[in-house]
């Protein structure tokens, strides 16, 4: 088996030599590492990774191939994919395609066979940086130059590239081993009230929609640029602010919309939605050194003192000092003490930085969907 060479060049001048897999060509983006040991397919299809090259710290990737169910959107969004060993012969009863074939189909470059742990340590110590994977051009100087010329994700609007172009109604719920995704009707029969909510799509993961449906909501997804007036006109019972890629400061229009909704409709935000809410409340956000990307982040619920093991994927965080008394910090990250959750009962909104919908990752935090439901149905206060 002859392997085609590929190189990964970083803006700091480091070059890693490996073997190409997936699409053979050239891809650039911000290089981040993800420490999850499962769920590479969900990672690939998470729109929040738009603009980023993802490296998996777990070395054997591709073992279970690609299947039709484990997707978070209609396509993979990562700019490039870095692994220690790219597995070409998957073994799992649900797989239909190989990782290699899938990336090839979507023109995503992969590089394998590099010292991914060394790269992780570089990113950890030096911070995330721009990088380029190429199997087309192996000239190292040129690649480093190209990496340096890539636009930073700070201040960029990546949401526009991943949001839905039209309104849609979401119809499926949670996944079942035997039956696959269950239809919305399954839950409606079980739960009494069905609050209607609008989910603003900044790059929403489908599992959030599935969770909302399976927790009893009627969900309509709207494009990111939908205005407050447009939302209010639909007279929903509540609004959900989704996850999404990049810098919250790159989407001022979204912040404006949320400002227009604050206090007028109950809101729940996740990840970018949480950051946008933070900005709308008058706070600030800042870029983390290398972000949180993985499935093992401990978060403490300050109300109960209980620890949730959470799925996370973010490069920016809300600065708690910037909010002062305007919001209550409800959750913090036990590793670096950053803000993981906010609530403003007076404005009827709350949000979390992490991913209670998991996918990939632990299901510890699904109670937040229940909380949103019970809040909207008047059974629980914030």
């Amino acid at each position: 088996m002859t392997e085609r060479s590929a190189k990964l060049a970083l803006a700091d001048g480091t070059v890693y030599r490996g073997a190409a897999f997936g699409y053979e060509g050239e891809c650039g983006g911000e290089v981040v590492f993800n420490t999850g040991m499962t769920g590479y397919q969900e990672v690939l299809t998470d729109p929040s990774y738009k603009g980023q090259i993802v490296m998996m710290t777990y070395p054997e990737i591709g073992n279970t191939g690609i299947n039709p169910d484990d997707v978070e959107s209609t396509r993979p969004w990562v700019e490039g994919f870095i692994v220690r060993e790219a597995w070409r012969l998957p073994s799992n009863w649900r797989h239909v395609e190989t990782l290699d074939g899938y990336l090839r189909r979507y023109h995503i470059c992969g590089i394998a066979g590099i010292d991914t742990r060394a790269l992780t340590r570089r990113l950890r110590d030096g911070g995330s940086q721009m990088g380029i994977i190429s199997s087309a051009d192996l000239d190292e100087k040129r690649l480093v130059k190209k990496a340096r010329e890539l636009p930073s994700i700070v201040g960029r609007d990546l949401v526009r590239e991943v949001t839905t172009d039209r309104e849609l109604h979401w119809e499926t719920g949670d996944w079942d081993l035997e039956k696959g995704y269950l239809p919305a009707a399954e839950y409606r029969n079980r739960l009494g009230k069905v609050p209607k909510i609008i989910a603003i799509d900044y790059g929403i993961k489908q599992n959030i929609l599935r969770m909302l449906v399976s927790h009893g909501f009627d969900v309509t997804v709207v494009p990111a640029e939908t205005t407050a007036a447009g939302i209010l006109a639909r007279k929903p019972d509540g609004v959900f602010l989704s996850n999404g890629p990049g810098d919250p400061e790159g989407v001022p229009y979204a912040v404006e919309t949320v400002k227009g909704l604050l206090g007028r409709l109950p809101m729940f935000g996740i990840c970018l939605g949480h950051q946008i809410m933070g900005l709308a409340l008058g706070g600030r956000t800042f870029k983390l050194k290398f972000g949180h990307h993985g499935c093992n982040q401990p978060v403490s619920d300050l109300a109960t003192g209980k620890v949730e093991i959470t799925s996370q994927n973010h490069n920016f965080a809300v600065d708690s000092d910037s909010l002062g008394e305007r919001a209550r910090v409800t959750h913090i990250n036990l590793n670096d003490r950053t803000v993981e959750g906010l609530a403003v009962p007076s404005l009827r909104c709350f949000s979390v930085q992490y991913h209670p919908e998991a996918s990939p990752g632990p299901h510890d935090s699904r109670y937040l969907f229940t909380r949103f439901y019970r809040y909207l149905t008047g059974e629980e206060d914030l």
């Binding site: 499962t38 799992n92 009863w93 992780t120 996944w175 499935c295 620890v307 990752g361 632990p362």
Partner: protein, 1085 residues
């Protein structure tokens, strides 16, 4: 939550002797728990009968009781110590079972002792299969269809709803004892009967078989605030049907998608909550159907386990230590992660490497039993290896095993048989799980099998098989390039292409040895070529977090990758080589010595570097040494570490044969071996040089010779006279050792067992019949020699010293002989310039002293002696190896303690059907226990009870001995008679005893009709069996008697010496109750 202040004194129960299914992982967990609780200021009371454990060192607990782990004895300790709480979850199944008994007997309630970690109800719910099944059903989880039966009749009633094949599993056992698979009614009835016998509660679970399903395990932790985390997922390479302890396992799980994994994780969380394990770790096993993903729950262990030890080593998360802290009230978020220092323990470790565990078997020790694996555990140890890919990790694990395998070695004789016959041979080895299956998969691939075919036959997942296929395919690639690579051996630049090939080989885990074999060259040539190509491993850290945070703990593994993270320190440092996998003949005793070596050198200001590949041990706790390299103990792997660290020297004399074998190869590479020189070791091991040594010192050894042919052997034998002891020169640990009494026996041995040849001579010794064997452990700094202990064996010479009980100090040898033995030991140590430990084995016959062997290294008895005399010998030895003198260390006088310590061996016979229980020159025991008391009878009784022998205080003794033993058995028979026992014997023996005024009733031999002796044993009408091996004519008879006694758990002895000692012990037991006393009290601390 802060730690609890309402409890101050906590009792821990260890797991007792090393047995199959319960090995030194519980010393690791127990030691961690002791340390953690003491660190928190609690008073720790520990009970463990196993002296070879680190946890029973006096400094690890406030009160250390080396006493039998029985409810009665532990109850006495409770009455004496009045602990506030008992932590039952760190001592394996033994600890848990005792806690249950203490609760059921009302002892815990009587003394107000609280069970912490897991309540009685939780233990019951997890352990009782029926209760567990109900709990799972309540959660909506699927368990295999099953029924709970108490008799064969009940078993036949439930089977129609369960169907064949069925799994038959007794409740409250460990290591799968008594579990079996039945494919038809006949097998089923037999298995049920056996399982009923094996269950302490005579209850058996019959279960739907999920053979062939994929097997997974999750290690779960929970705290008092109900925070639950998964520490590690483990996937078994061997599918369901092979006990997980006997399976090759891999961490993390490899073939689950996130959705499937989360279903399992959710189930685990709900299970630990439903069962109600309040705090600590649990292990939960699942089976997954490979084609549908259907998941069933197999079982849960509400305690730390072998798997949790593996998970701790695999992830760097110390489960037992954290479990102990959770038990006293801390929550996960209050405990710091030692490795990252800045993050809490309330997270789930993520790893960026692949961990492979392979079990170590010793079927060669039990030739009567088949090498077949099933639901009953048979392995005696295990190795773990870490690599950046599964291929690297798997091949590292293979060479860690120390079975002469350095990769996917060929196991079929090359080209010997016809293709069809080869295919059949392979298929058999693939279809029925066995210890060689992995290597046979390699052979199948070489023969052109498709992985799909292998998957159909074995049920092993395609993902694993494809990895192996790639390894075998790559071997071909290397073979094709062999001529070219060999031509590079002479020097010059290594071309780019060859370098690339070698790099790929190394990063796929190929050892230099295996490469040499593929290249048909030598290991040194392969190594030189590799080094000239610039290929050296790098070392990476195990850090719990995939490098997301900085690791402050140098817990390292080698890999062929780019960046090296070892960052060696510039300090004076010593490397200590560990003992590798546990096996019969080399176990926890050597790990004990290694750990002591580390402690001692740290006290001396050295940086300590440990190298080992056994995940069960204390030595591979990253907390033990300053730096831990989790690596195979081969020349290649050890040299790489030495090149990286550049230590002052290496200690090889603590880890048993494994590191000792490396002494000469390492020294040749310029490595400094600390302590006794390899040349001195050679002087003691080389037969000719040893003879010269003894002649020089005017010491005697039994007449002997070396035979290189049958004729030579016959000549030597007739010169020295029968009986003779035979053994091949090239194996260790008593392998293939035999005593023969005549020329016919000699011919038989040389034809069937071992052929004498020029390269492989046979060693012949005069066998000293009825001699007493004596073991001596001594320490020397090159000038001063101090005797640590003189141990008198209970069993007569001819039984492997590791299998023999012994007494320290000797209980029947005159003082002047003991003094002479000490003098000879000292003379040997001086002449050999021993620096460190030395063990000498003597035989005493009619007042004459013979030297059997000298081992200038730590022996199996070092921990026992250290505990008996209260002096840490291994620690002192490590210090003298660095140049300290015994005078300065304050140890110059031989110690003769006032109390008596008895060591007894523990055997795995129950796990191996068809194996006889008689002892011989080949070692068969897996572990040992210690009994301490003021006199020999009591100490021996304690050792017997600790070893699981329920010494009776009355009833009927059955005696059946060969004619030549009839006189010898009289003292025991008389003593038992006087102690009130009734004596039963077979015709001849009964008549003989009658003539000697010992009334004995006559019992039928097996072939004499019914009811015969085995019927009486089965009916519980016999309390003790004394049976010495008979001549060939009634061999089958006596074998059946011994085996029946074993299966029905009736105490039995097979030697006259043991019979005397047992009779003596029983008479003491009858006269007075056994008391308990802590080690600290014995040694005046």
């Amino acid at each position: 939550m802060p730690k609890r202040t309402d409890i101050r004194k906590i009792m821990l129960i260890g797991s007792g002797p090393i047995i199959i299914g319960q090995a030194c992982e519980f010393d690791y967990s127990g030691t961690q728990a002791c340390k953690a609780l003491k660190e928190e200021g609690y008073t720790v009371v520990l009970v463990n009968s196993n002296p070879a454990t680190i946890m029973t060192d006096m400094e690890f607990a406030d009160r250390t009781y080396i006493e039998p782990i029985t409810p009665e004895m532990v109850g006495k300790i409770i009455a004496r110590e009045r602990p506030d709480a008992l932590l039952p979850t760190i001592g394996g199944q033994t600890g848990l079972n005792i806690a249950v008994s203490l609760h059921e007997m009302g002892i815990l309630q009587e003394y107000g002792v609280e069970l912490i970690g897991a309540s009685f109800e939780a233990i019951q719910k997890a352990e009782d299969r029926d209760q567990f099944r109900k709990a799972m059903e309540k959660l909506g989880l699927v368990v295999p269809r099953s029924g709970y039966v108490k008799s064969v009749e009940e078993a036949l009633k439930v089977i129609p709803s369960i169907g064949y094949p069925a799994i038959i599993r007794p409740s409250f056992t460990l290591g799968g004892t008594g579990a079996g698979i039945a494919y038809n009614r006949e097998e089923y009835e037999e298995a049920v009967r056996w399982a009923l016998d094996a269950s302490p509660k005579r209850t058996v679970l019959v279960e739907q078989s999920v053979i062939g399903w994929k097997e997974f395990e999750l290690e779960v932790m929970r705290d008092l605030k109900d925070n639950v985390v998964i520490i590690c997922s483990i996937e078994n390479l061997d599918p369901m049907g092979v006990h997980t302890g006997d399976s090759i396992t891999v961490a993390p799980a490899q073939t689950l998608t996130d959705k499937e994994y989360q279903l399992m994780r959710n189930a685990a969380l709900r299970i630990i909550r439903e069962i109600g394990v309040d705090t600590g770790g649990s292990n939960i096993q699942f089976a997954v159907h490979p084609d549908t993903g259907e998941m069933v729950v197999i079982e849960m262990n509400p305690r730390v386990s072998r798997s949790s030890a593996l998970a701790s080593k695999a992830t760097g998360f110390p489960i037992a230590k954290i479990a102990a802290k959770l038990a006293v009230g801390y929550t996960l978020d209050e405990i710091r992660n030692d490795i990252t220092r800045e993050t809490p323990a309330s997270f789930e470790p993520t790893i960026d490497y692949v961990v492979t565990k392979i079990p170590r078997f010793t079927f060669e020790k039990f030739p009567q039993t088949q090498d077949v694996l099933g639901t009953q555990m048979k392995s005696v140890g295990e190795v773990m290896a870490i690599g950046r890919t599964f291929k690297e990790s798997l091949q590292k694990a293979l060479r860690s095993l120390e079975i002469g395998v350095y990769g996917f070695e060929e196991v079929l004789p090359a080209g010997a048989a016809a293709p069809a016959a080869r295919r059949k041979a392979i298929e058999e080895k693939l279809r029925v799980p066995n210890s060689q299956r992995l290597l046979y998969i390699g052979e199948a691939l070489r023969e052109g099998w498709k992985i799909e075919e292998i998957n159909r036959v074995t049920g092993i997942d395609i993902w694993f098989l494809e990895n192996i296929r790639q390894i075998i395919a790559f071997e071909e690639e290397i073979r094709r390039s062999a001529p070219e690579l060999r031509s590079l051996a002479d020097g010059g630049a290594v071309p780019e292409e060859a370098t690339a090939l070698l790099r790929r080989a190394k990063s796929s885990g190929f050892s230099d040895r295996r490469l040499a074999r593929l290249l048909e060259s030598s290991e040194d040539a392969a190594r030189n070529l590799r080094i000239r190509a610039g290929l050296r491993p790098v070392f990476k850290r195990v850090d719990t977090c995939g490098a997301e945070f900085e690791a402050h703990t140098p817990y390292l593994y080698s890999t062929y990758d780019e960046e090296d993270e070892a960052s060696p320190e510039d300090r004076k440092k010593v490397v200590i080589l560990g003992g590798g996998p546990n096996r019969i003949g080399q176990g926890i005793e050597f790990d004990y010595c290694c750990v002591h070596g580390v402690f001692a050198l740290r006290e001396e200001g050295y940086e300590t570097i440990m190298v080992n590949c056994n995940p069960e041990t204390v030595s591979t706790d990253y907390d033990t040494s300053d730096r831990l390299y989790f690596e195979p103990l081969t020349k290649e792997d050890v040299l790489a570490i030495i090149e990286e660290e550049k230590p002052e020297g290496v200690i090889v004399q603590f880890g048993g044969q494994t590191p000792l074998k490396l002494a000469v190869p390492l020294e040749k590479e310029g490595v400094r071996i600390l302590g006794t020189t390899p040349d001195s070791i050679d002087r003691a091991e080389d037969r000719e040089r040893f003879k010269e040594l003894l002649d020089l010192l005017a010491l005697r050894q039994p007449p002997n010779g070396i035979a290189r042919s049958t004729a030579e052997a016959v000549g030597i034998a007739s010169r020295i006279g029968y009986p003779i002891l035979l053994r091949p020169s090239y194996v260790l640990g008593g392998r293939a050792m035999e005593i023969v009494h005549d020329e016919e026996g000699l011919h038989k041995y040389l034809t069937h067992a071992v052929q004498a040849s020029e390269e492989r001579p046979v060693l012949i010794d005069k066998f000293l019949e009825d001699a007493i064997e004596i073991d001596v452990d001594a320490i020397s700094d090159g000038e001063t020699v101090v005797i640590g202990g003189v141990m008198e064996h209970i069993e007569e010479a001819g039984i492997h010293s590791g299998d023999s009980a012994c007494s320290l100090p000797p209980h029947s040898i005159p003082n002047e002989l003991v003094r002479e033995i000490a003098r000879q030991t000292k003379a040997l140590a001086r002449e050999l310039r021993v620096v460190g430990l030395m063990n000498v084995q003597f035989a005493l016959k009619k007042g004459e002293i013979f030297i059997l062997e000298v081992n200038p290294r730590a022996s199996r008895t070092v921990p026992f002696v250290s505990k008996a005399i209260g002096v840490p010998l291994a620690k002192l030895a490590a210090k003298v190896m660095t140049g300290r003198k015994l005078v300065d260390l304050g140890f110059t006088e031989d110690v003769t303690p006032a109390h008596i310590s008895v060591k007894e061996a523990v055997f795995p016979f129950i796990k191996f059907p068809d194996v006889d229980t008689i002892l011989g020159p080949e070692m068969k025991s897996t572990g040992e226990v210690m009994g301490i008391d003021v006199n020999f009878g009591r100490a021996f009784a304690k050792a017997q009870i600790a070893a699981g022998m329920m010494l009776p205080r009355g009833g009927r003794v059955f005696i059946s001995v060969r004619d030549e033993d009839k006189d010898g058995v009289l003292p025991a028979a008389r003593l038992l008679h006087e102690s009130g026992f009734r004596i039963a014997a077979t015709g001849g023996t009964a008549a003989f005893l009658g003539r000697k005024a010992i009334p004995a009733e006559s019992v039928l031999k097996i072939q004499e009709g019914r009811p015969h002796v085995a019927d009486l044993i089965k009916n519980g009408e016999i309390a003790l069996v004394i049976n010495t091996p008979l001549g060939a004519q009634s061999k089958a008879d006596s074998f059946y008697i011994r085996r029946t006694a074993l299966v029905y758990n009736i105490p039995y002895v097979t030697t006259l010496a043991a019979a005397r000692a047992v009779a003596h012990a029983i008479s003491h037991l009858i006269r007075e109750d056994l008391g308990v006393r802590s080690l600290q009290e014995y040694h005046g601390r």
